[in-house]
């Protein structure tokens, strides 16, 4: 089944206002920047972006545009704010969070990974040790400080665990090094990060790939994301990214 789309705007045509979209990448690395740019151009509103570790901190320009256009309703991430407080003071996103116009929900990185995986694997919920004894025992959302929802905890073998639920995005935007036409993917080095687990979790996964090849051309023992999880693939140029975070 050929999943290749020629135009990036066609690949995201059904991403509508109010969509929940998982965004791959870890800081500046492995971020689907051209899909993000297409989303900015499309001016889709009321978006919830669910991330892993700071892809929007790594894609500063794209985040600024999304904030400026008023497209963002909420960001879920483990590292959603600029690293330094001084950079944060000049950051439109941080100011919008402060003003309460955009919601920021903070979740430990491994818990986020696990919640995507639960959604992918048909698991309803899992008991994780992460954050026991911390504020993570409640939901950590910027706008509901006075009323943070407590989570269920339970002791197994003398240790406290928190019940964490599956997180299933409507879409995942993924950046791959190579895709074959049936949607099997390979990532490059640390650009893999959250991309595979998001690809398997979302209802519809849309891939930007630097290379597109025929089925069978990727080593069949080294597929990072099986094509069964992928709905559409579009080829993009490799663009130069400044490594580092603010």
């Amino acid at each position: 089944m050929d999943k290749v789309y020629q135009k990036i705007e066609e690949a995201i045509a059904d991403v509508n206002d109010g969509a929940v979209i998982a965004i791959g990448g870890f800081f500046a690395c492995g971020v689907p920047r051209l899909l993000l740019q297409a989303l900015i151009d499309k001016k889709t509103k009321n978006l919830t972006l669910t991330c892993g570790c700071g892809p929007m901190v790594g894609a500063t320009e794209e985040l600024r545009a999304l904030v400026k256009n008023g497209q963002l309703k909420k960001l879920i991430d483990s590292y959603g704010l600029a690293r330094s407080a001084s950079k944060g003071r000049q950051d439109p996103f941080e100011q919008a969070v402060k003003a309460g116009t955009i919601e920021l929900e903070v979740v430990p990185m491994g818990t986020l990974a696990e919640r995507y995986r639960a959604a992918a694997a048909g698991v309803a919920a899992v008991y994780l040790p992460t954050g026991a004894g911390s504020i993570v025992e409640k939901s950590v959302v910027s706008s509901i400080v006075a009323n943070r929802t407590p989570k269920e905890t339970r002791v197994f073998n003398g240790k406290t665990y928190i019940l964490e639920y599956a997180l299933k995005p409507d879409f995942a935007f993924v950046h791959a090094h190579t895709a074959d036409k049936e949607g099997n993917l390979r990532y490059s080095k640390t650009a893999r990060n959250f991309n595979p687990v998001m690809a398997s979790a979302a209802k519809a996964t849309i891939v930007e790939a630097e290379n597109i090849v025929e089925p069978g051309e990727i080593d069949p023992d080294c597929i990072h994301t099986p094509g069964i999880y992928v709905k559409r693939v579009v080829q993009v140029p490799r663009i130069k990214v400044r490594v580092g975070i603010d």
Partner: protein, 226 residues
Amino acid sequence: MEKVKLTGIPREMIALRISKEIKDGDYVNLGIGIPTLISNWIEGRDIMLQGEIGLLKSGPLVTDEEMIDQDCINASCQPIIEIPGTIYFDILESFTMIRGGRMNLVVMGALQVNDKGDYAGWANPSRGLDVGNIGGSMDLVAGADRLFLAMEHVAVDGNPKVVKKLTFPPTTTGKVNMIFTDLAVMEVTPKGLLLKEVAPGLTAKDVQSVTEPKLIVSPDLKEIEF
């Protein structure tokens, strides 16, 4: 408590001191800040650095701009060099290792620590926000065999960071084993903080003067050795 300004060892030397505690064969994760500097002191040793972004046996940092591969960074978003034995994996595998107890040692930075081994590192309310960046810190401390903190002993504004009661939101409670600062090396014991080493030229009394909880002074108290 008076706001004394004591002169201790530089950040690089805190990192060096910690590197002496790491055993050959250890799998180690280093947090952002002073912990990252430890990597400079263990090059060539048989120590496996894990990066939560998804790599193991991380090589040294790139120093020559020409050699940057934008697809090859550590968890602090610094470009690194691949060495024989460096391997890559996805985030699930990374946190399977981390939460599953495979890290022999985790070294983190901290904003505050108390004498029960609780520490705060993920959110500084002075930023004016009620949320912060958790990143992988809470997963790392949940799974670590041993947890060290590497930090300045006193905040820039002169306030103590080794405190009786955390005023910042905790990252974890009761998990810290050792604290390495510019002024001292302390061990978290059931009875409180055991002061084991002090920076050259300082006394236990000096360190106590900028530390809120009452320190237990080791009978073997010595200068920090490198």
